[in-house]
């Protein structure tokens, strides 16, 4: 949002003032806040058909296409009362949802809205509530994408929040109560950007899935995501990529999982919530031309541990993909759940349970690849056989166990270890760990039990995964996508 500082403008002198005046005149000719202009950037040229009349409602609803894929879209009219939502504008949004659900096409909402219209009082609140109800009814039925390009405050914050994916342009601000109210109630001094701009929402709150440098890029991302969800394509033959160099030689060493995710996909996909709970990566992209969702532990962050935030992030992604029939690829390298008082009190039990529920509930085809470690409860949570994985692959480097072998024997064999002199303990631990690994963990045991189906070479990974997904019976979960 641009706020003109008149003091600064005056200081710049007459030339600058003339330039400003010229720019203003140009801006008046093509007002970038005109919803028809905004939707024109979002949708294919010449594809727009109005489904709401030209009026003072503050909302424009249309049908159109994104790379040929039919969609429904609506946009706040920020020129009228700052885009505030009244009864009439909300009626247009509800109507747009009716059309989208009837036609089974994605809905894209472009938001620049200060909230409910104050002058309409409770009538506008009732209308905003009806929008929420329409969004919830459509949840899991048609993909819903929100692009926030200006303020989305109060009721307008919860509109995007109810949808599947929220994109925030640099100019976007999302909050329930603005800085003035915060200041008057709690005394906290904060500006709009620090309260609800890209920084807090990308790193701290998890409200936003994609942050972009400007409005055009935000609209471009919306197009890309609408294409991925609205036109999923059919799997064709894939080329192989050799992933032999992805893992470091030392099994304790951290590495970034992004190159593996990128290499698995035909072209870079769209990573959702990249900076929030970065210890798990959730990316939508295509494999063999077909849309897939990739979930991967990232050992570079928190050792790749699952924690309450990452479990919640992954759960919502799993449920979104399941609702729209997008097959899942789960890349596992996880040392466990993150230990700590903070985690326990943060509800890692409750929030971690969401991931178990999401995978166990999912009907969509879902392939697991264990690349390195799969320990303890986190092994189960990462789409294990027990939760119903379609197929479980492992690289030869895989190790699955309740915990690391040395840590395990320190508990199981603690008396035996304590009985020997201190200087001999390390050697004994190592020997016991080796025996334990043979008996309890290790690849062969996992295969014998049927919790791993097949060991594949890193250089044959794409083909193996693509074949399973191509042969699996397509399915989608019959549920909504509650914003977990």
């Amino acid at each position: 949002m641009t706020v003109l500082d008149s003091g600064t403008t005056a200081d710049r002198g007459t030339t600058a003032a003339r330039e400003t005046a010229a720019a203003t005149a140009e801006a008046a000719a093509i007002d970038s806040r005109d919803p028809l202009v905004r939707l024109g950037h979002l949708l294919d040229e010449g594809s727009i058909r109005r489904i709401s009349p030209e009026d003072r409602s503050g909302v424009l609803a249309v049908t159109g296409r994104v790379d040929g894929v039919p969609v429904v879209a609506f946009c706040s009219d920020a020129r009228i009362q700052g885009g505030a939502m009244g009864a009439e504008g909300c009626e247009h949004i509800v109507h747009a949802y009716d059309v989208a659900v009837r036609e089974r096409v994605p809905v894209i909402g472009v938001w620049h809205c200060g909230g409910a219209r104050l002058a309409e009082g409770v009538e506008s609140l009732h209308a905003v509530g009806r929008v929420f109800a329409a969004m919830t009814k459509a949840s899991g039925v048609v993909p819903q994408i929100s692009v926030v390009v200006g303020p989305a405050a109060g009721g307008a914050a919860y509109g995007p929040a109810l949808t599947d994916i929220v994109i925030l342009a640099d100019s976007g601000r999302i909050f329930v109560t603005g800085p003035d109210v915060v200041r008057s109630v709690t005394g906290e001094q904060i500006d709009m950007a620090a309260l609800g701009g890209p920084e807090p929402h990308s790193k701290r709150s998890g409200v936003v899935h994609v942050v972009t440098k400007d409005e055009p890029e935000a609209l471009l991302r919306a197009r890309q995501l609408a294409g991925l969800l609205g036109h999923q394509g059919r799997m064709r033959e894939v080329d192989e990529v050799d992933f032999s160099d992805v893992l470091p030689d030392n099994p304790r060493r951290a590495y970034d999982v992004h190159p593996l995710v990128k290499g698995l996909l035909d072209e870079p996909g769209v990573e959702l919530q990249p900076k929030w709970a970065p210890n798990i990566v959730t990316t939508l992209g295509r494999l063999g031309g077909r849309t897939v969702g990739v979930i991967a532990n990232n050992p570079m962050r928190l050792g790749g541990c699952l924690d309450s935030a990452s479990a919640e992030k992954a759960s919502r992604f799993v449920r979104m993909c399941d609702a729209f029939g997008v097959p899942l690829i789960v890349l596992v390298d996880v040392p466990g759940y993150l230990p700590g008082v903070g985690q326990e009190h943060d509800g890692v039990v409750r929030r971690g349970a969401k991931l178990l529920h999401a995978f166990a509930e999912a009907s969509v085809p879902r392939v697991t690849l264990i690349t390195r470690k799969a320990y303890g409860g986190a092994y189960i949570a990462m789409n294990s056989r027990s939760l119903g994985a379609t197929r479980v692959f492992a690289w030869p480097t895989m190790e699955v166990a309740v915990m690391g072998a040395v840590a395990a024997v320190r508990i199981i064999k603690r008396r035996e270890i304590a009985a020997v002199p201190e200087e001999e303990r390390a050697a004994l631990e190592a020997r016991l760990a080796e025996e334990h690994e043979k008996a309890a963990g290790g690849l062969q045991r996992a295969i014998d039990l049927g919790v791993v189906d097949e060991v594949i070479e890193p250089a044959k990974t794409r083909g193996a995964i693509a074949r399973v997904l191509a042969q699996a019976t397509p399915a989608r979960g019959a549920h909504g996508n509650i914003p977990l």
Binding site: M300, R301, G303, G304, P335, L338, G340, G342, V406
Partner: protein
């Protein structure tokens, strides 16, 4: 100024940078050891390391200050 805190209980395994070093976003400052894993602590912002609060062998608790980048 950005304070970098420990996100988990861990041993300090290796100090990678020194006070006064210029770092970029995503550079490794310190490597912790926990959960049988080496866990790099990354700088969230570009800047200069003005303080390293830990030394190798220390045990850090969740939330402890590790370094300051300005």
């Amino acid at each position: 100024m950005a304070e970098v805190h420990a996100e988990m209980v861990a041993n300090v395994w290796k100090i990678v940078v020194s006070e006064g070093d210029v770092v970029d976003e995503g550079d490794t400052l310190v490597i912790l050891e926990s959960m049988k894993m080496e866990i790099p602590v990354l700088s969230e912002d570009p800047g200069t390391v003005t303080k390293i609060q830990v030394k190798e062998g220390d045990v850090v608790q969740e939330g402890d200050l590790i370094a300051v980048v300005e």
